[in-house]
Amino acid sequence: MINSKAVQLSAEVVSNKKVGAYHHMVFAVGDMAASCRPGNFVAISVGGASSSLILRRAFAIYRASLRSDGMGLLELVIAPQGSGSKWLVAQEPGDRVDLIAPLGTSFGIPKEPINALLVGGGYGSAPLFSLAETLKSRGCRVDMVLGASTAGKIYAPLEGKRSVNSLTITTDDGSAGIAGRVSDVLPKLIAEHDVDVIYSCGPMAMLEAITLISQRTDVLHQCSVEESMACGIGVCMTCVLPVEGEDGVIRMTRSCVEGPVMDGNKVLWNTSREIPDGVWGK
């Protein structure tokens, strides 16, 4: 079902700053900020009046905070890619956007202090910093790995870095940190820090690679998936992927309401463009 806290509102842009390849944008959202959990996302209308872009765009919540003066702020990290995201990053303080949040599932927070490894690819680091803070506040050890094609696409703000015990960076072109992919450094980090749970967010291929590693090393893996979404609220059935349910049945499952955060081990990966055998109703 849809996140029971979801509300639709007109949110004012409070700030918009370019950071490397991304824009860090802050929106005034009032009380709603208090109901956002790490891993939840927002769905925003793009293009303005008489736009040819008719579908909302989904963005992971980077941070949500209800200030003591009652001002609720929602922060996003946005990569200008196609027409929708480019329109969004062109909005200026004072402009308003139509926004629905919080949507989707959130990262499961353990009751015991555990050793957590947070893995982000590109703007996939966005939801991980607020998750890191929450885990820290529960006494967890939090190590982080961020990967991207190149240094400018690593989003790791200073205040974010403070909430992790260690930060490892990988880039495909070697322009920052270790040359290579996050999956190259995971096995060593898992062993080194005696990791109990991996939390991940990034491109689907990365999530799949992490799932394989987590299975080999017997580590839990919660990942935030990214499927094309037309509605973001569970009514269109475009955002599905095959996931094994608690009853052992594999169903085409909506990532906007039963995700984006899912158990990596329950997802059948690399199944875009064909329905795998064994899926219910194939």
Binding site: M1, I2, S4, A6, Q8, S45, S52, L53, I54, L55, R56, D98, I100, E227, S228, A230, C231, I233, G234, V235, C236, M237, T238, V240, L241, R251, M252, V257, T271, S272, R273, E274, I275, V279, W280, G281, K282
Partner: protein, 310 residues
Amino acid sequence: MSINFSTSIGGAFFANPIFTASGCAGSGKELSHFFPLTSLGAVVTKSIMVKPRSGRATPRMAETPSGMLNSIGLQGPGIDLFLENDIPWLREQGARIIVSIAGESVEDYAVLARKLRNVVGISALEVNISCPNVENRGQVFACHPDTAAAAIAAVRRNIGGELPIIAKLSPDVTDITAIADSVIVAGADGLALINTLLGMVIDTTSMLPKLSQKTGGLSGPAIRPIAVRAIYQVRAAFPKIPIVGMGGVTNGRDAFELVLAGADAVSIGTATFGNPMAAMTIKNELEELCEARGFNSFSDAVSYAHRVEA
């Protein structure tokens, strides 16, 4: 409410003429988070088939200029689970229910009709015939007068007396009035116009069709002029047949346009993806527009663009 905003389709009464479009609101659960389903004229449920269905592989959608393609492929739990879970829930909400059914063979339609004939609390049946007919080289039922009629006749024979049958037609035909004629003769009490148009998007990076199934159904504002034309043509040919109009309606003005063309009710599809409150906004705007144009009753506005002025 100062105007009579109710409507009826084949004898079934609806408090207002704004419905959800099949496949664009699931069974209403998620939308009920945003507004009470009782404020809709009716919830039209996602087309249900005989058996559970995984639907198509992803990617299932592509945004297009003022529109979108989808190839969901009728994912759903099958009629038995649907009757067990969705219908009771909808009844509990007090919603008016129109059940949409879809089959791969004439027999499927017959089976579905039999399963539904004694179900309490359903106001009408919408028969989605824009499905590939596996017994006829995968040709879509709605694309030929004879196959369209066969599907509707199967429902008619098996549904029993009361429940109005609304045949949902595809615009992808040479002459939509010929299809309308054949399904009316076969026993349809009303028509739903229009389903999506067959389209394709090619991803210019992978240089392959973007959807896993290559083609998909085009919906949204881009197709509204096609919907208005189809409704107008069918209304001109069949002055009395009840029509549920749909296709690219995003605001009250759009809904009013379909009503003037001949729609007795208007279903909201893709607009809900952009705005979960779309149906409610449209309902209010449509009522205001009808009033502003001097209509005392919604039904007076229906087909008004066909009038011959003295």
